[in-house]
Symmetry: C2
């Protein structure tokens, strides 16, 4: 195949006619396919069904330490669940607090409490004229939605293969006291799939923020979500911080949303002693305690980090072929044409795809018209605006593999068409 | 028995010696009894154990409408659960949003969102110099803890047998734009046990607040928690509001915390169309959705309001004898002495007890020394300060009945002793 950018106008026209005919065929099929959200598939959810049975006929409803999980209390979670997350994150159990089913909810609450109550005695952000967050891009749309809701100015920071541009991060964080946070998905990043290098993590730990209440919102959502035999390894940020005595700068989050049930798992926040005391001061007024029956169910089903690792192998067996199906189609259909670049992640839930400049929205439109829903183009940038209009987040997890193959075929054709339109107009 | 206030100093001295001897005997027993919190007993929690079995071996995990409860989504709850609460509260399903396990969490979030984001376009409270809440007293300590955390000034409003003093409420709400809310437990009130009269509810509905973002925080925690064959009936506040077109003034809350499991139930907020749209704007950024597996469990176990009513009869069978045990002891030991007044509720979780003026803290001390924990005296007032030092909240639900009897005996002796101390010092 010849690269599109090397084709003459005549060749482009011929190619366009062929691709357009193919696209028309797809449109005629009345497809309805969805590659938009990082949702586990029904088959993945089935993997955890035995978890619902562990309390069947069970009359021992006491957690370690004797608390009756059905009653009120145990604000920070039952010991056996804290221990599991302690293993997963390599953080002491006393630095972990268990929430409800959603780590996003914990992140939202941290921002909302900072806005209304302030972090450890600092002025509540709602009283300040200007609050800013750094947003590595492309990134996770639901992070950006939180900061947008609170009217926090979002500053995009370019992601590279080792993580965010740390020169830029340092420049903002160390000079501007209005910069109060940065959103990070440090492992199998959403959407680029990369894992922050040790140097990047150390550069985070070494930051000397201008604002005392600057926090790194470390969303370690995919900590055990590997797709290969050679998983990425993320340096423990709290270990890195210890050297700089900067542990108070980090809020770490994770959940079992993509381990057990995405709607009915357990989420946690990990933080330094000082942050934990501050967070608990608020949390203890917010609720008498989280759902501990769900916690006990998880603890009795998974037991420990090894139990979770074994379980994640089953997820991988379902997920890896889907990633492979998408990537091999992209490799065959698009790579030789010089019109696309994309990630090849070792874990996580996404493939990050870049079109030629200015083509991403058009690809979204074409896919939609042909019955394939993508993550809203632009969503991976603050305010939904991708300045280059190139990035598309592909989420292969949810559709059955045959549907995924059909969707990717439509996608590839749409990318070719949009690229041809651009090149022909040039 | 002679009334204490009619006794001579000599009679008081003799009585004191006798009562003190009895008190010493209790102290020597090394008791450890707890009447402090409105926690269901282990026996009550056992009532809902079959709920954990309804999903056993279950592979139909779809709610009405087809959503897979294990996956993300369904922000406002599954239809069958919304329908149950719709029946319980007599509010349309579309005006109900289901949260996690804690209605307190929903109340906290409403206040926190008002502080940081504002209610329907109003200025966020955190930006205002002064925000005030009305607090009917005695009331619920955890309500007061929320407003205290946010630095909201709390104004006590006297509770009567029909509810709060509505003249006072109207005076504040209609004249002071800094008054943004009032905490209410309208049915089987915490702790007085009374239910607001129809006139009181109508007086609420008729309020013309000075502040556009004034809201009534209507914590209908005990809506189906009857203790007698002649339960109280609470007028539906939304019905009352319809006449005045004041539906936007109300946030109503309830939960299954004292129906199924206190730590692992379901909580909801009910609100007008305009409020619901405003709340969902925030909630949809806070989370992708609540735990719907827990919801499905509740729906398949309870089915409907009738199922819940039948279940509440079982709770009543366990609770009513405990209330009876406390009340008959108070009737026998204290009523004839003219040193106490207390409620005789038709439902809910508490008996509200008033000592002679200035004696409540001393009763708390005496009980503690004898091994009986009461709800912290003063907790039923804002800032933990009961100006008359009279009110004690008795929570009979948690201890087994023999322990409860022992605790009440110590309590009665402590009340006699504290009263005698006061009268002898007079």
């Amino acid at each position: 195949m010849k690269k599109y950018q090397e084709m003459s106008q005549e060749e482009l026209r011929a190619e366009y006619n062929a691709v357009y005919a193919q696209y028309q065929k797809y449109c005629a099929q009345g497809l309805s396919l969805d590659m938009s959200r990082g949702k586990p598939s029904a088959a993945q959810l089935e993997l955890s069904m035995p978890m619902l049975d562990v309390l069947h006929g069970q009359h021992d409803m006491r957690a370690e330490g004797g608390v009756d999980v059905r009653n009120y209390g145990q604000l920070d979670g039952i010991p056996e669940v804290k221990r599991i997350f302690s293993e997963l994150l390599d953080v002491a159990p006393e630095n972990i607090m268990v929430g409800a089913n959603s780590s996003l909810n914990l992140m939202f609450d941290c921002v909302c409490w900072a806005e209304s109550l302030g972090i450890i005695g600092c002025t509540p952000w709602a009283k300040l004229d200007k609050v800013k967050f750094l947003c590595p891009v492309p990134g996770y749309d639901r992070h950006f939605a939180i900061t947008e809701l609170f009217g926090i100015e979002m500053i995009p920071i370019q992601m590279g293969s080792n993580g965010p541009d740390m020169e830029e991060v340092r420049r903002y964080v160390e000079n501007d006291p209005a910069v109060k946070g940065i959103w990070c998905v440090p492992k199998y990043s959403n959407p680029t799939g990369i894992t922050y290098s040790d140097d990047t993590v150390r550069a985070f730990a070494a930051l000397k923020p201008a604002a005392k209440d600057f926090r790194i919102y470390w969303d370690n959502a995919y900590c055990v979500h590997h797709l290969t035999d050679t998983p990425d390894v993320l340096l423990n940020i709290f270990d890195a911080c210890r050297e700089y005595k900067s542990e108070d700068m980090v809020y770490e989050f994770t959940s079992t949303s993509k381990i057990s049930f995405s709607g009915a798992g357990i989420a946690v926040i990990a933080a330094s002693d000082a942050n934990m005391a501050d967070l608990k001061k608020k949390r203890t007024i917010q609720t008498i305690g989280p759902n501990k029956v769900v916690q006990l169910m998880h603890a009795r089903y998974f037991h420990d980090a090894a139990g979770i690792a074994a379980h994640m192998e089953k997820h991988r067996a379902l997920l890896a072929p889907k990633f492979e199906a998408v990537l091999s189609a992209l490799d065959a259909e698009l790579a030789p044409l010089g019109i696309a670049s994309y990630s090849r992640p070792n874990g996580g839930y996404f493939i990050s795809f870049d079109t030629l400049s200015g083509c991403a929205s058009r690809v979204g439109e074409l896919c939609k018209k042909a019955g394939v829903v993508l993550t809203t183009v632009g969503a991976t940038f603050p305010y939904g605006k991708d300045p280059q209009d190139t990035n598309i987040r592909i989420a292969p997890s949810f559709p059955p593999i045959e549907e995924l193959r059909a969707a990717v075929a439509v996608f590839c054709t749409s990318v070719r068409l949009a690229s041809l339109e651009k090149l022909m107009a040039a």
